[in-house]
């Protein structure tokens, strides 16, 4: 029983990580209807920036927020410079561009920052709360941060005019222009926010997985699975989906299919969810009249 609890808690902990990146994916999906396959790599790159800042002597939280600003700016820049020219091209061309971006960011990171593993500090105290041996403070803190982001996003999309405008752009760019929304800036804003959220998730992952250019590869797969499970159009859903995937990965990995086949959990979840409930557990199914 204790072993199972352990698996569940470490599942929740890794779930928090997946949830973080899943939120970033949802951001771009919400505003553009695309799935950014390079999201994990962008997060990894931002984490390196944070590492450099800390290495340079910047206090942790200073580096944290500076990195968020950097990531936001980089996200906006990437959208304007790389993605924008493709806005008229078909989805498949865009997927190729995302993949190109993934490759570029990944190899640039290992080129600039080297290939040795780097330790990354955690902002949370190392002594576990209540002396529990299930979950570390860093993991608890990460979960807390993710929940805060979810709450902010939820309010942002549901209740602010800007959030509403971003959703409108994703759904119908022409009608959005006709109500006066500056579409191209909304898209860039979506990318900026996604990159910022991704950076946060990267900085939360790094103390656990060690910083390395391939750090986010596996995380991306699980996060995608989580986002799809929860619903790509719903921050809450994507976060919950991330947690569920984390728990499934650990529990199934330990007891059912063995750790060697962990990725297949993601595969099975993605396929089953897409088949049975393509909008995800908490996504809205849109019905359209013909």
């Amino acid at each position: 029983m204790d072993a199972l609890l352990h698996q569940i808690f470490s599942g929740i902990a890794s779930g928090g990580i997946y949830a973080g990146l899943a939120l970033a994916l949802v951001m771009i999906y919400q505003s553009t209807g695309h799935i950014n396959f390079a999201q994990g790599e962008m997060a990894m790159f931002s984490t390196y920036i944070a590492w450099e800042l800390i290495d340079y002597g910047t206090p942790y939280w200073g580096a944290f927020f500076l990195t968020i600003v950097f990531a936001f700016a980089a996200g906006v820049a990437i959208e304007r410079l790389v993605i924008r020219p493709f806005h008229n091209l078909p989805v498949i061309a865009l997927i190729i561009v995302f993949i190109g971006l993934l490759v570029v960011v990944n190899s640039t990171a290992s080129w600039i920052f080297g290939t040795t593993l780097k330790t990354f500090p955690s902002p949370f105290p190392s002594e576990p709360l209540w002396n529990n041996h299930y979950i570390s403070n860093h993991e608890l803190g990460s979960i807390g941060v993710v929940l805060i982001i979810v709450a902010i996003l939820f309010v942002f999309f549901r209740y602010t005019t800007l959030g509403l405008a971003m959703r409108a752009v994703a759904e119908n760019p022409i009608s959005s222009r006709l109500v006066g929304i500056r579409v191209s800036w909304m898209l860039a804003l979506g990318w900026g926010l996604a990159a910022a959220i991704g950076a946060v998730s990267g900085m939360l992952v790094a103390p656990i997985l060690y910083l390395d250019s391939s750090m986010m590869g596996g995380v991306l797969i699980y996060s995608l699975a989580g986002a799809i499970l929860g619903g790509l159009d719903n921050p809450w859903g994507a976060a919950v989906g991330g947690f569920i995937i984390g728990i499934m990965e650990n529990v199934l990995g330990a007891y059912v299919i063995g750790t060697q086949l962990k990725f297949s959990v993601a595969l099975i979840v993605i396929v089953v969810v897409l088949l049975l409930r393509p909008a995800g557990l908490f996504g809205r199914t849109v019905v359209t009249r013909v």
């Binding site: 989805v91 190729i96 190109g100 490759v103 993605i270 897409l274 199914t285 849109v286």
Partner: protein, 357 residues
């Protein structure tokens, strides 16, 4: 707005009418639809004939290393034509064809290694297994489109290497270390070396498969595939059974890719789980994008690109070859959205317009 009305009968997922965006620009299809002047069509047949002959003569003019590279390029070309059927012609995006390639390679390797089958007999079973597998993977794919299918197939791509490494299969797959195969002997006492022989072996299979693809894609079924890609509802309304076409396309595409995988095992004489990682799937997709979606000749350009450009990028910069590769990829998509095949065709049309005037 007409487009919205049209697509809204398909199930829209999570606020996004996914199918409202054409997956593959039909510009290429339109270009193809322009009837070629008869003289040019004849010229084209001559051109293709010449290329086939040159292809058969090349191994006598090149060093073994280049013969090996070209053989590998042909193997890729077979996989690319398979993938292009699915992605380019039928509009189903797969990020998982590396997995099918791996399955083909392993089936062939296991048949040769554990069951002592001759290499030339192991190619077809590998293709058939992939055909069946692809067909069944195509069933759930019926309900997925665009990004979603890409995702599901991506998960397949990352799972397969893990399965291949798994202990339960180790007695056949050799686990992490994979399987080492022996190099095929030259039969009938032909006066050529082994590399030349493998080249001809692959060359013959490639010609057959290209011919098959040409007949399939330029005929009724090919038109049905394109119709489903561009106008799914209209295609159904015209009596095309899109479920059968889509799953069969998946199957045939998997067959081609599986055959390519089997040939790669024979050519490289080695299979291991990590040679078939997610990057292979991406590489294949890159190949068809660069070669040109929904083109047959594009497979050749694409294969040369994915084989040569990493080397070239490595020579250009020792520290960041993949970064250059990625940048090149983005630039090609931007400047040549119809790929090299589209580019070559455009040049050809310009030239013929100059001469026919």
């Amino acid at each position: 707005m007409a487009e919205q009305v049209k697509t809204s009968t398909t199930s829209t997922v999570a606020g996004q009418p996914l199918s409202s965006v054409p997956l593959v620009k039909s510009a290429t299809a339109q270009i193809q639809a322009v009837p070629l002047p008869r003289r040019l069509a004849g010229g084209r047949a001559w051109g293709i004939g010449a290329i086939v002959v040159i292809g058969a003569l090349l191994p006598f003019a090149l060093q073994n290393f280049y013969i090996f590279q070209l053989t590998l390029a042909m193997v890729y070309a077979i996989a690319l034509i398979g993938l292009n059927m699915l992605v380019g012609y039928n509009g189903q995006v797969s990020l998982g064809h590396g997995a099918l390639y791996a399955i083909g390679a392993y089936i062939a390797a296991i048949l040769m290694n554990s069951y002592d089958w001759p290499y030339w007999l192991s190619v077809l079973p590998a293709g058939v297994v992939c055909l069946v597998f692809g067909y069944f993977f195509g069933l759930p794919a019926l309900r997925l489109s665009g990004h979603y299918l890409a995702l599901a197939s991506l998960a397949l791509a990352v799972t397969t290497p893990q399965v291949l490494k798994h202990k339960a299969l180790e007695q056949w797959t050799g686990g992490f270390s994979g399987i080492v195969l022996s190099k095929p002997e030259v039969p009938f006492g032909l006066p050529i070396n082994q590399d030349q022989w493998i080249y001809f072996f692959v060359y013959a299979i490639m010609l057959v498969l290209f011919l098959g693809a040409y007949n399939l894609l330029r005929g009724r079924i090919g038109r049905a595939m394109i119709a489903i890609r561009d106008q799914p509802i209209a295609a159904e309304a015209m009596g095309i059974n899109s479920a059968i076409i889509k799953t069969s396309t998946f199957g045939v595409s998997a067959f081609y890719t599986g055959v390519a995988g089997a040939l790669s095992a024979i050519v490289v004489q080695f299979v291991s789980p990590d040679s078939y990682d997610f990057f292979l799937s991406i590489t294949l997709l890159v190949g068809i994008a660069v070669g040109g979606f929904a083109t047959i000749s594009g497979a050749i350009y694409g294969a040369l690109f994915i084989l040569l450009v990493p080397n070239f990028a490595g020579e250009l910069s020792k520290s960041a070859p993949w970064a250059i590769y990625g940048v090149l990829l983005i630039l090609v998509m931007y400047f040549l959205p119809t790929g090299f095949a589209g580019f070559v065709r455009m040049i050809g049309q310009r030239l013929s317009a100059m001469f026919t005037r």
